[in-house]
Amino acid sequence: MFASKFTYYYKINNKYSFMNNFLTGAIDIIKTKDLEKLRANDFKLSKKLSKKNKNPLLNPLIERGYYYINENDENKLFHELFKNYKKKIKKRPIKIVFCPSYVCNLKCTYCFEKDLFKNKNKFISDSHLNFAFNVIEKFLKDNKKISSIELFGGEPLLPRSKESVKKILNFAYKKNIRISIITNGVLANEFIGILKPVKNLIDMLQITIDGPLAIHDKRRKSYSGKGSFSQIEKNIDLLLKNKINTNIRVNIDMENIDYLPELYEFIDKKNWVSHPNFKIQLSKVTDHKNAECVYPIVKDNILLEKLISIYNQNQQLEKTFSFNMFKPLRHILYILNGAENVAPRYFNCESNLIELYIFCPDGFIYTCPESIGDSNTAIGRYYPDLEFFENNIKIWTDRNILKLKECSNCKFAPLCGGGCPYSSILIHKNNLTPVCEDFQDVLDTYLKFRGNEILKKYNIS
């Protein structure tokens, strides 16, 4: 019998332990004494397991992918799943993203696009748009499924972009394609007239609020130093009054995490929390250019422990915000919330599958939202003519956990997917270095503080 190399264990208490296999997705609770015997190889595990073996523990362990009868069984399964995974993902829809402008009207302290406005092409022109629409028409003729059209930036909702935004929304409306808009929300009021006619297609306007007024305005202010909170507050009221789906994103680091309770109190008093068109999510502030954490960015397990201590004071905050911003926990949360299972990840993200086509003012098509403006990473050009750069496409598609040498011995590989490809390019100057997140520490921290809750949820005592 051979143990899977993708199994994670955590002792919740003296009686029960948590087991999770990242290839099969199995999550189980096992008695701690049984786990200790198992790990000490004390079940007299034999290489030839008879079909008649009635050991009440070994059969489910094999069925659920924690153990294998033959040495190469797991490796064969791993490769076979990868082959089928690649076939299945070809059926996933693509997402079109328009970046109407490289310019922004805010100067946020942690912005990763600080130099974007220096690009000589700052706004998407009418000709650019027409060429982009032709490319999308070609995708549709080629039977590509398009799940949504998204507006991104810079800042997409600027006065100078209004005509472009109107044309893009009209295009989405004619093609009956869902719409999302990532915006700072400061000038959303000036776009209400063109948003209302397409509101039934709008999945969300995502607007960032980083805390109560004093905290938000320290981080997200205009070039003149003026805060943006009050204007955003009015605009969210207006969007919700018009029943336009609005999603607040809170970018969290150690500078603002303590103000979450105050922010929650604010949005609750505004009656936003209970509004049917309102949602709110937390997201970590990240710096993909740096391998080390620079304060106020800290290691994930430290941020998680801080968040747990805040949630312990106020359970409503945990129900509202959850722990989804931590990638190592999403599969557990997904399953605890009722999903049947979660597929292993052989890739980190959509950029590895070229599922995003981002049309930018510089005439290039990008596939990673963080890389826009860096034309060395563009996957093609749409203006003044359509051309795809096969070598650049390979930079993104050649990256998976089978190709990353260091991932071959990592138990977290099918959960992780190898980490951010753009970080690999920026930090390591190549596309084949894993960019690891602290999976062990984050999982351990979560189960240390919430493991007993999982036992209670499943009436295990």
Partner: protein
């Protein structure tokens, strides 16, 4: 709505392993994926936190 599923263990499994999810629903006997969320779930850190909430 949270769907709390308590797995009933087969008699010969005893009480040794309590499964939280059903791995048989992830792929069929030919190892072809059949997970319902496979074709739509986002992967990028950007889009996960955006879309997960609308789920």
């Amino acid at each position: 709505m949270v769907n709390v599923v308590i797995k009933t263990l087969k008699k010969d499994w005893g009480e040794k392993l309590k499964s939280i999810n059903d791995t048989k629903k992830l792929w069929n006997k030919d190892k072809k994926f059949k997970a319902a969320n496979f074709n739509t779930s986002p992967m990028c850190c950007w889009f996960w936190c955006i879309i997960f909430g609308w789920g």
